[in-house]
């Protein structure tokens, strides 16, 4: 397998830096992870971490409004950010000779954001985010599934109970004071990781990083995650809900509470997701789709999240004429069959995961994002090279045991999406 080289160090203000040089193309990725996500939101402010991410693109003391985007685009770069449960990331890929521009922009909004914040900007981005919620969730068939599933798998006082996008009411309640408080609490060098990957000179990059980030003062220690972060390993019962929506085909979602990202069991859950739902030889594709012709599609996903528990989610859409009860029963039969899974199912899953990891590592942006992720979550950038060993270590016995312990009717949430009018007239 390929070994991604990297160098890691920490500035005096606590900013962790990972550099990885690759001169095969004249491009460079600048990637920052802040260790704050929707899990850190206080009651009444769901969706705020994401709204804040939008504010980070609205300029900073030395970068006028809209100039952040235009400087990167006219340099021939691409940029974005994203907010998730555990983290918020910001990234740009640039022609290599614009490395300094990327570092300057990122440093300015980490060090000098607040002077540029205005009520007008907040009101505008609040409208944008509310439209993002409509676009992703409220006006989209099955769009609210993860919001509903999170609220079932996690108790109401757990930080994963609410969705990243948050509620319209809480977005409306957000103020400029919230922006300031959130910034001072979480957007500090000691709560961030900077990764730079691509075609650069190491000494030059270290000098630039010191020049732009070195003078930013550290912030106070980050407060603990609000709510109850430790929860039972399993739910202890089955939870069910039926949702009527403006859809044409019924869809079934089944989720299980599983051990968090980083544990041995997590890697088993990731392999299980591949065994069940990834590829045309996947167990659920072979059975529900090819042999039994009950379903139109099937997906499986293990959430790489770290607080208390993760979740393994399966979904499948019924073909016309197939009821969800029948589809669900067929699905549970296959989940039960996992306790007798064959070695070749595991081998196939691991091979596909190895191949995908190698393919993903082709882009500097993905390398930078993985280096930031492993440093943020595990303080261990070397996992970019060693994570695949954890996947390879998963055996048939691990899968069988995992299925018996976690994939049962004492630990699952089941959601039926059904069309509003079943008669179609």
């Amino acid at each position: 397998m390929v070994e991604i080289p990297f160098e890691r160090y920490t500035l005096d203000n606590g900013l962790r830096v990972v550099l990885s040089r690759d001169a095969s193309a004249p491009v460079v990725a600048v990637n920052l992870w802040y260790h704050v996500g929707s899990r850190n939101e206080k009651p009444g402010r769901t969706g705020f971490a994401h709204l804040f991410e939008h504010m980070m693109f609205q300029g900073s003391e030395h970068v006028p409004e809209m100039v952040h985007f235009s400087l990167v685009e006219k340099a021939g770069g691409s940029l974005n950010g994203s907010t998730w449960l555990d983290r918020t990331n910001y990234f740009e890929t640039l022609p290599a000779h614009y490395l300094e521009l990327g570092l300057w922009l990122e440093a300015d909004r980490l060090g000098w954001l607040l002077p540029a914040m205005t009520q007008a900007k907040l009101d505008n981005q609040r409208d944008v985010v509310k439209n993002e919620r409509r676009w992703r969730i409220d006006n989209q068939p099955y769009g609210d599934w993860d919001e509903r599933m999170q609220s079932m798998i996690y108790p109401s006082d757990h930080p994963y109970h609410h969705s990243v996008i948050g509620s319209m009411e809480d977005l409306d309640a957000s103020s400029l004071e919230d922006v300031e408080e959130f910034f001072r609490t979480y957007y500090t060098p000691n709560n961030a990781v900077l990764s730079v990957v691509g075609d650069f000179d190491g000494d030059h990059a270290r000098d630039l990083i010191k020049k732009y980030f070195g003078s930013i003062p550290p912030g106070p220690p980050v407060p603990p995650i609000p709510g109850r972060t430790q929860i039972d390993a399993v739910i202890g019962k089955e939870l069910r809900v039926t949702v009527e929506q403006d859809i044409s085909l019924p869809r079934l979602y089944v989720a299980y509470r599983t051990p968090p990202y980083g544990t041995d069991d997590y890697y088993t859950s990731a392999v299980v997701a591949q065994i069940l739902g990834y590829g045309k030889a996947a167990l659920l594709y072979r059975t529900l789709i090819r042999e039994q012709r009950l379903a139109q599609d099937v997906e499986a996903y293990a959430f790489p999240i770290v607080v208390g528990a993760s979740m393994l989610v399966l979904w499948t859409t019924a073909l016309p004429g197939v009821t969800l009860d029948r589809l669900e029963s067929a699905l549970h039969d296959q989940i039960d069959a996992l306790q007798h899974v064959e070695p070749r199912d595991v081998t196939r899953a691991v091979r596909l995961m190895e191949a995908r990891q190698l393919s993903d590592l082709q882009t500097v942006g993905e390398r930078a994002d993985q280096l930031s992720m492993y440093t943020t979550l595990f303080d261990d950038p070397a996992r970019i090279n060693t994570e695949v060993e954890r996947v390879r270590a998963v055996t048939v016995d691990h899968v069988r045991s995992f299925a018996a312990r976690f994939l049962n009717d004492r630990n699952r949430a089941v959601m039926h999406y059904i069309p509003k009018t079943m008669n179609g007239s």
């Binding site: 981005q125 068939p141 020049k211 590829g279 090819r290 599609d297 196939r348 082709q362 179609g424």
Partner: protein
């Protein structure tokens, strides 16, 4: 650091050259085109097969057959069943990806270098010897039908499909979707897929691209071994005619009661991929709606907060595809958003883009080009344009220079020729009762409301 260093954006460093990797093309005796491109620094090779069997090569009474045939390739070959094929691929870590556009069917795997021979042997078996078992083709047809049904309740897909129906006249294939028409698709069988494969998927209609950790001579040898002894000849492809379906601006409202957002499409017929203005239009479109800092996105999103995003694009197809503005806006601001979109179009045509805008758009497109070519799959997709649209083999070697040559005069000329607000179809999927009055007040065109027929009758529910 002095404050001046902080205040002003830093200048760029010395520019580093980018060269699109060399593309080496040769034609085998049986007319298979073999294209090899050595690229990347990881032990990976993408094998990408392109067949001139896109949806535009199916006749109207076979609508959906190109996609059905391509998807049915997973049903197995004369050498292995569908399930066996899936195991053989995936035990090598190979993920088979198949897709069909109007212009081609694509079949692709990416493999680690050591397994390239096995991967190519499987790919050749899939493309050359599909068995099209009756049960598998029926299954895949039923899934395709279900997909069509789903698109009817998915606002974005519904807006795209309905916009095509407005933009293109009856008889133009682009009027329909590549998924086909339910009434036609329902009757297609394994016999049709077999015949389509026989007529269209032949060596003279096929190109095999190898991109990545492979030298040209070895690459051509590998292609020769996998595809060199394949015989056959493609039947003539039907003539395609593309005519506009609208001649004056009108608003078509697709009623989706209770929608909290409106999916908006505004457009008309565009230009073929091979039009000489193609590169100029990329620059023009980057300014109008093809970048984050485009006029449409800055206005509708950053100024007004109507939307999460607004964009525009000229579709790249062999014949003139759509030019389309797309956005999703809050129900209560829909008519204002449509008005603003037209204002932006009119302003661009009236005053033209500024010299700064043109320079920025050129630099943006030239700069992101190498960023989008970091993986073997991305490079192969670019090269597939050379194959599908019969572009010169060195097309992407001078692509950036061509972009950087686009000037103000050519952008203005292209704008006035290719963007015609007076003949744009406006299609909106949303809550008609809430939207209709304000859309009529806009006065930009006649407003009609479609109440979509209910989804095609579902098979009776199974008894339980």
């Amino acid at each position: 650091m002095t404050s001046a260093e902080r205040v002003n954006e830093p200048p760029p460093g010395p520019i580093r050259d980018y060269h699109f990797p060399e593309v080496n093309s040769r034609t085998l005796d049986n007319c298979v085109r073999s294209v090899v491109c050595t690229a990347g620094d990881l032990p990976l090779v993408t094998a990408h097969v392109i067949v001139n069997a896109g949806a535009a090569t199916e006749s109207a009474n076979q609508a959906g057959l190109a996609l059905l045939t391509a998807n049915s390739l997973e049903g197995g070959t004369t050498n292995r069943s569908g399930t066996q094929l899936a195991w053989d691929l995936e035990e090598l870590g190979l993920e088979l990806t198949t897709w069909t556009t109007w212009d081609a069917t694509h079949v692709r795997v990416t493999t680690i270098t050591d397994r390239i021979e096995g991967a190519l042997a499987l790919l050749a078996d899939i493309v050359r010897n599909p068995a099209f078992p009756e049960g598998e083709v029926e299954r895949i047809r039923d899934e395709q039908l279900a997909e069509i049904i789903q698109r009817g309740t998915e606002p974005r897909a519904l807006a795209d499909d309905m916009a095509s129906r407005s933009i293109f006249a009856e008889g133009s294939p682009y009027r329909r979707s590549t998924y086909g028409e339910p009434d036609v698709l329902r009757c297609l069988t394994a016999v049709d897929a077999t015949a389509f494969h026989h007529a269209r998927m032949s060596p003279d209609a096929t190109s095999v691209l190898l991109v990545g950790d492979v030298e040209a001579s070895r690459g051509h040898d590998l292609v020769m071994r996998a595809f060199g002894d394949w015989g056959g000849k493609a039947a003539p492809v039907p003539q395609v005619e593309v005519r506009p379906g609208v001649h004056e601006t009108s608003i078509r409202l697709i009623d989706r009661p209770g929608s909290v957002q409106s999916e908006v499409r505004i457009g008309h017929i565009g230009v073929p991929r091979t039009h000489p203005d193609h590169i100029t239009l990329l620059v023009l479109n980057a300014i109008l709606g093809g970048s984050f800092t485009s006029r449409l996105n800055l206005s509708l999103r950053e100024k007004h907060g109507f939307t999460y995003g607004a964009r525009s694009a000229f579709a790249a197809r062999r014949h003139a595809g759509p030019f389309m503005i797309s956005t999703a806006v809050g129900t209560d601001v829909t008519s204002r958003a449509v008005e603003e979109a037209f204002n932006e179009v009119h302003a661009l045509l009236r005053d033209g883009p500024t010299d700064d805008e043109i320079a920025n758009a050129r630099n943006f497109l030239a700069g992101v080009f190498p960023l989008q070519l970091q993986s073997t799959e991305e490079i192969a997709e670019r090269i597939s344009d050379i194959v599908v649209y019969d572009l010169p083999i060195d097309y992407f070697q001078h692509y950036r220079a061509d972009l950087l040559r686009v000037d103000s005069t050519s952008v203005r000329q292209a704008a006035s020729l290719h963007i015609r607000p007076e003949e744009m179809a406006v299609v909106i999927v949303g809550d008609a009762a809430a939207l209709r009055p304000t859309l009529e007040q806009l006065g930009i065109g006649k407003v009609t409301v479609d109440n979509l027929a209910p989804a095609p009758a579902l098979a009776p529910a199974d008894a339980e």
